[in-house]
Symmetry: D2
Subunit: 335 residues, 4 copies
């Protein structure tokens, strides 16, 4: 099956590389980027992608291409989803679909009406550690889910310029954890309450955001949960989930690159955590693309649907409102 | 130094035994309990306590006795603190001082005016694992404290009859964690927000309480925190704390009785957690009593002051109000 | 039951203290030591031991005393065992019984003929971690035992003066591991092969011993095993066992004083190991004395019999011979 | 740089796939196998290998091909090394070079005289966990190396037919650990002593081999070591190394596929170990090929030289002799 990639930035290239190396069911015919340049053309050549273009329409209008990967800037996601849907192409779109809920709905509806697959790029669902916890929970090993806890901390804050346009910590960072919370709970969040502080970098505060945040979740099932985020963990990428239930507790330990342990007079030391996201989630990016190929090839539901793209945005909207107003906010208030 | 123990229930006996075995600086002269019986008299004999009585006044009026341990029912704590203070005796009092803030203040004031030591029985501060995290934090190993997370789960819920009179999960269970949060943060909590559910036993709900709760904390320092409690963890006593800061993260793993590990075709299994509180916190009870003896003998401030007894009650009051009203509550609202 | 303690050195005092604190079934009437002094008399008083004496015969001839603890120097062990046996007293004797196999046999025989209990002080059998592995093995969790591995490393070498008289590393240090190997395997060792080096302190080599040793074991069952010893582990007391069998592998992790973990930019660090044997094996000393009291009171076989005292000495003799002659040595060669 | 692969069995295909996916510096021109078939031709096509042939000479005689990978049966290794060396091609050869020491020497000499690179496929040196221990040791973190311990256990024994021709457990299994011991120690082994038993499958014993073995090592540096092997660990692939030295101890924990942990009333359980070698050492196979490409491209010494291929064979020969004769055997006896 031939695919096209719209957007040749960092994430577009990761998907291109992974498809060419690990997803034999997909064949990239064209990669499009308005800033197409020699470096990207060389990249395309190296990974056997025959066409490069500045014009996404070359993909959308190509009858040979059955699926598109939308890896362009967020503000173009919903537009390309709609156009791809109209062109009858299956769609993998990076998260978030959009911050504007109306656009999110329009995009999801377009895909539905066209009867094409739509998968959203919440890659962490495919991480081997998070997945292993999910599998334990779904296999009933913890019984009924009572409490969910998610820690998610980045090694370094993004540039303040990014924070200004990203929608803030709930939209650009915790959105992954909002998705993970729903994924693990198997139940929708009905209310959130956010607290946050500027403890890492005052410039983030001046940009109107917090850099340390903690959001309480109420689920429809009665379960409760909490997510904590920090923009800066000096020890590296810290990503842990915990699901406590009536029959037990499943959690994962933070991932580290190797199992070597050193005991000296100073104590017993394990290796440092991953310092970059691409190293930490290498396998997850591959797995989500294999899952997309599988969903399209075998006409299955995609493992991360359009609705799965919608709900975390609702949660981010509610968390933002909660932080601003200093009170719990129901999801129904922002729907 | 001679001491008297008021209250010969479970905790009174634990202290009596620990003093006789591990605190040579203290000598128990008298143990008083309105329900004094043959079994307690035999206990006293076994541990070398010369006097038993039904009347606490025999302790309070005994000029030889320099310090009293108040291990009676909660409703009598403040009364005995005041009387012991008037009698010029140093005081160790089990937590909580009282649920009535006015009484708490009166008790603290009485001790202050009398110039006697007052230590409150928040034993977890003396647990080897929590203490080790505290020591790392105080030694600056995590830098400035940004996030505090505390998990505290009991193996079994208490009888519903107890829940009805205890003041509920925030007063009888999370109060330990409220104390721990302040202890670890080195900063006062200014606001709490509580969510809770009845997920373990409907009878607890019928008694007007929740059995699963999660409380968000804002500290004066800007740090944020969260405590989760469950009345029932099938795998046993689960007590973990985590302090995340600008330079690192200190946490403890749940305590288990031994380090043996079994690898079979089913995976690699560690031993089960402690099933009873007395096993889990054996050493902590000894250490707190040694610390009390040290504070009195060497005229130091006690490591858990009257104020340390007050604040967790304020936090419990605020959490209760927050749960009832579905909104964040400032500590100043309940003060 | 009244007991007497012969020998008031470090280990004698540990047992005295533990009995007085944790073994209510035993009552120490007399403690004897040829170097009895004011400090030991004060110790006796503190722990409620009424009699102190320079003459062990006061214990051996006291009809009220039913059991003796032999904590004197090794060269007097077999003599006191024989005398105590003749006096009809039950016997707890510190390891080793003797280095002279003839004396060991005479002592064991004397206890047998007198029909008194004899327990040897291999305290590690009572350690909570080693015991937990043993329990897993005996419960059949690892199936048939195929391989046994024991690591045992001390924080600091003993004085060279001690090495000169102790019989060397196999007699004074690895003897604990020889006992542990038999204990875990449930099968006798038939042959050993020792290699060793002087890598810690040349003075140990000059004294005719090695400070780093590794002994291969063949068991009657067909299982094989290995023990490694080092006189100096800078990170503290390192004591681990591993039992690999047809159905799995049971092992214990080295014991550390607390579970706190620190993650910083330098990695994730656990606490240091124990630095002193008394801290590491605190509970084991208590448990072995409780087991002795139980064996005597309830007329059970002691958990570490005279034969259990004999075999490790045979293994040490064979290991010494193996190291000297550079070849495997059968236990039957030294028997 | 163009390469040819001689031998299209399992390991040949692993290298072919890894080169095509992860080693852009190498380009596979031809793959040769006497049993070339449609399935292998399809494989070659999938991974962009233009030529397939039954005749290894097509590779050896191709002037465009600069390096060959020898992945054929062991009995042909030395022959192809010599022929490739004569043809001036750099060589990567699977281990072992041969069991016949004369042939091993001839092969190594041929490569030396031709001035071509020779790398032997001891892939475990490239494993992330073993490598991390090695890096700690080489960085001096454990000080002077005193003790080396290696555990290596397979999930399932190989077919007895294989055991009959492989040379036995020391040649087909422990040879990896012999290499690892030298690699970690940074010192040559001078003497070995082997013990072994048939505990897994009597048919292995009937074939003249043992299935459970333990080999003691003496190193030229004075360090001592031990390797244990079992043909069957029900919990999966168990591969651990430990290096104990004057300043500390570096070890790795067994590798497991994820970090998820489940706590239930039965204890706390980690995931099972890897069940197949290819999953366990995925990354190591990639890394060794990248290292080979790097050595050739940048004219560096290969990280596993011909001598590194020789010594483990000497150790296996000595271990075999030791087991047969029941005595320690010096490497110089088999050289």
């Amino acid at each position: 099956m031939k695919v096209g990639i719209i957007g040749a930035g960092r994430i577009g290239k990761v998907h291109a590389k992974n498809i060419s190396m690990f997803v034999p069911a997909l064949e990239i015919k064209t990669i499009a980027d308005p800033f197409m340049n020699a470096e990207t053309e060389a990249f395309a050549k190296q990974y056997g992608i025959p066409n490069t273009t500045k014009d996404a329409n070359e993909i959308l209008n190509d009858p040979e291409i059955e699926a598109v990967l939308i890896c362009s800037s967020t503000d173009t996601h919903s537009k390309y989803i709609i156009e791809a849907a109209h062109a009858g192409k299956h769609i993998f779109c990076e998260k978030p679909i959009d911050y504007d809920l109306k656009k999110v709905h329009e995009a999801i509806d377009a895909a539905k009406q066209a009867g094409v697959k739509l998968q959203i790029g919440f890659c962490r669902r495919f991480d081997h550690n998070h997945r292993a916890v999910y599998d334990l929970v779904r296999a009933g090993k913890v019984g009924k889910v009572n409490i969910i806890k998610i820690s998610s901390r980045d090694p370094e804050p993004p540039p303040v310029s990014y924070v200004k346009v990203s929608g803030g910590i709930f939209y650009d960072m915790m959105i992954h954890d909002f998705d993970m919370a729903r994924f693990l709970a198997g139940s929708e969040v009905t209310e959130v309450h956010a607290v946050g502080s500027v403890l890492v970098d005052p410039a983030i505060g001046e940009a109107g955001d917090v850099d340390t945040a903690l959001v309480t979740l109420k689920f429809a099932s009665g379960a409760i949960g909490v997510i904590d985020n920090s923009r800066k963990a000096v020890y590296g990428y810290d990503q842990r989930v915990e699901v406590f239930g009536s029959e037990g507790c499943a959690q994962n330990e933070n991932d580290i690159p190797h199992t070597a342990v050193l005991s000296t007079a100073d104590g017993t030391t394990y290796g440092t955590a991953y310092q970059v996201m691409w190293d930490r989630y290498t396998g997850a990016f591959v797995s989500e693309m294999q899952a997309f190929a599988d969903a399209v090839a075998n006409d299955k539901e995609t493992p991360v649907t359009g609705e799965d793209g919608l709900y975390p945005v609702l949660m981010a909207a509610a968390a933002t409102k909660s932080l601003q107003e200093g009170r719990p906010v129901k999801i129904s208030e922002v729907e």
